[in-house]
Amino acid sequence: MAFAAITPDPIDTAALLASVSAPGHGAVVLFVGTVRDHNDGRPVRGMRYDAYVAMAERVLTEIVEEAEAGRECSVAAVHRIGELDIGEASVAIGAASAHRADAYEASRYVIEELKRRLPVWKHEHYIDGESAWVAGVDPLKGSVHG
């Protein structure tokens, strides 16, 4: 059963895995995206994630449902917002299926699609005290419409 959420709270990956596990699932894949201490060669000390929360929950739910469609698997995804330190999880995806191929594919689908179209933005804080918005992806380019 698909599950998706945008949350200001630390991500509970154990709960995420539990939500997709089932007796018939012999493969469980967990992907965790974390805040990195550098970007384009520049030292980073933290990151703020902003989202259009109402839309992001809707879009993430759609992506998770798409990942499940046509595959025998259960998928759940959580994206965090707010101020995050280096090493903290910004996104986590759980995917479980009878055999590994579906779980790996579903997990990959969710992360690639959310990077393409989830209305979330990163404000990077650098060691030198400056901050900047991370250059993003135009969601128009990810659409079949143009």
Binding site: L118, W133, G136
Partner: protein, 87 residues
């Protein structure tokens, strides 16, 4: 009664666009029947927002709206979305 009464539309801004405008949302007065293209023209007149890209991404009621000829209604929640960077 003529039906050309103006309608008020709320436009939400995020991330870079919020910084450009110095505001989290805009209230625009547009003629009834105005399209996304009309809204963008009005937005570009506002302080800081002349710098919007030629074809910014936009959502109407939480869905991407790719057609700039879409006709708006006063109840719509419109949002201007900078390039996204989740993950």
């Amino acid at each position: 009664m003529p039906t050309f009464e103006p309608m008020r539309i709320r436009v939400l801004l995020f991330a870079l666009y919020r910084d450009l405008a110095g505001a989290e949302q805009l209230e625009l007065e547009l003629p009834t029947g105005a399209t996304v293209q009309d809204l963008l023209s009005a937005v570009r007149q506002l302080p800081g927002l002349a710098a919007l890209p030629a074809r910014p991404a936009l959502a109407i009621n939480h869905e991407y709206a790719f057609d700039y000829e879409t006709v708006l209604s006063a109840a719509d929640e419109v949002a201007l979305l900078p390039p996204v960077a989740g993950g």
